[in-house]
């Protein structure tokens, strides 16, 4: 194991025995943590502190991915998602996307910086062949280049926007995903409408925008961040939490939550998907955000 040194200590804590738990209802969503925390960017708010050097979570082998897809198909999965890190750093990303699309609608979450003309062509060819929808979610944190690049790194804005346009030109209708980290830079202005307007001004006639909250984890996690108690969840329907119907295959096993994947405390099993079908501990400060905002990492 590469080790926890680059992460705040809180991410490595074990779930306390009295942590509230989320029921497991069904496997609707399979997530593949394909590149672990290996990324070509190093965003200040990254939920799992991904970056180019010494990723603390390793990529997953193609064999593990294919086995998970086959098992998920048998279990009646509805959607498959690939995330990382940056998925397009994985040498077999296109082939694995094709395997997933044989089974279910599939989404890939990307920073867009590696989607050049050839990759956009490859994705368009995959989408044309598939019976199920291929969705590409490109992260962008602001419509202003400087504000975006302060969060995501120099040059990331122009590359991501170029990818969005390339995908759109090929009929792929990318979903632009933004966190609320830069909301303060545009006080009083609707973030959603601002992104829609930005995309339409670039000739994107069917703009798709997803807004995500910022989580207190990864590089933003701090010791002492609040955690859930049973009292916090009185009257709350835990079946609404995405961990009640999602499972994540990543290095080291199967996890309940896409953004906690890789953390030892969030691991449900080192075995199969089916062996992970059990209540999940709501032990992490990130769980507070899910409960309070009702957010989901899914497309809709």
């Amino acid at each position: 194991m590469i080790g926890p040194m680059r992460l705040p200590l809180i991410n490595w804590m074990a779930p306390p025995a009295d942590a509230p738990r989320a029921p497991f209802l069904r496997l609707s969503t399979l997530w593949i943590q394909i590149t672990g925390t290996w990324c070509n960017l190093e965003c200040v708010h990254c939920i799992n502190a991904s970056g180019p050097a010494d990723p603390w979570l390793k990529p997953v082998s193609p064999e593990v991915v294919r086995r998970a897809i086959r098992e998920a198909e048998d279990l009646g999965v509805k959607e498959i998602y690939f995330t990382g890190g940056e998925p397009f750093l994985h040498a077999e990303m296109l082939a694995l996307l094709g395997d997933a699309l044989e089974v279910a609608p599939t989404t890939v979450l990307t920073n867009g910086t590696l989607i050049d003309e050839a990759m956009a062509d490859g994705l368009a060819a995959l989408a044309r062949r598939a019976s199920y929808s291929l969705e590409v979610r490109v992260s962008l944190d602001d419509t202003d280049p400087e504000t975006n690049d302060r969060v995501r790194g120099a040059g990331s804005f122009s590359k991501a926007v170029a990818a969005i346009v390339r995908l759109n030109d090929r009929g792929l209708l990318p979903i632009v995903t933004a966190t609320e980290i830069a909301r303060a830079a545009h006080a009083g202005e609707g973030m959603y409408e601002r992104f829609r307007g930005f995309l339409m001004a670039r000739g994107i006639e069917k703009p798709r925008v997803k807004i995500m909250p910022v989580f207190a984890l990864g590089r933003l996690g701090r010791e002492g961040d609040p955690r859930l108690t049973e009292a916090d969840l009185a009257g709350f329907d835990r079946g609404l939490l995405q961990c009640s119907e999602s499972r994540v295959v990543g290095d080291g096993g199967v996890y309940a939550c896409p953004i906690l994947a890789g953390l030892p405390g969030a691991r449900l099993t080192e075995g199969t998907l089916k062996e992970s079908f059990a209540d999940a501990p709501l032990y992490h400060p990130a769980c507070v955000t899910c409960v309070q905002t009702g957010m989901t990492c899914k497309n809709g």
């Binding site: 069904r26 198909e73 999965v77 509805k78 089974v103 929808s133 609707g190």
Partner: protein, 273 residues
Amino acid sequence: MRADGDDVQERIAEYRRIAVFGGVYSNAPALEAMLADARGRDVEAVFCLGDMGGFGPHPDRVFPLLREAGVLAIQGNYDESLALGKTDCGCGYTDPRDNHFARISYEYTFAKTSMENKRWLGGLPAHRRLRLGTRRVLMSHGSPRVINEFLWESATPTGLLKRFLREGAADVLLCTHTGIKWHRALPDGTHAVNVGVIGRPENDGSSNVWYTVLTAGPDLSVEFIPVHYDYETLARQMEQEGLPPEFAETVRTGWWTTCLENLPSQERSRGKF
């Protein structure tokens, strides 16, 4: 179990040919046209998979039509919300623009639906089962497991449909909720059919709406039937009632202008917006 150990079979009605529709969305002119069309097609019964209100004007106008025609209905998410007095339609949107229009539509429909009709909606079953020849049919609004689950053609895996059919002990699954029809014959001889909706055109640039006729036989016959109706009158009524101009535009043009963000990329790419 009976004393002799045999299972007691529930009496399930058996049909040869049925008409099935979904999503009325307060479109009384389309409902009237559809019922008249179905009467000419030798069907033994007409079924509605729910969502009587929303989107259109004068919600109370559809209920007498449904009752007089003896339509056998199940409950949609809109019906459930109206009956329970919920504050939103439970359509399952997550996008701010979609939710904005959904809120306008629901508040209008809630205010204009009588208590008697809300009670009627509250008494509808969540599912229906019947036999079509030898085939066991399961009807649901969204999916058999969740009333507002979207089953789009390009986003519903065959593996999931197999699971629904196996767990529901059915050979044919009928659903609606998305607003766009489709039919998939599975390799094992079972079927899944989204019967479409009659309240709103299906985002293909045509003003007509769709319902479905199913006929028993060695091969199940699934026919999607276009319904042409007086959409201009409906659009004018929507405007007179102060409903969003985007709704009337959809009725006139056949292109969806709202509730677009739940569409998977394949379905979204076929539309105009």
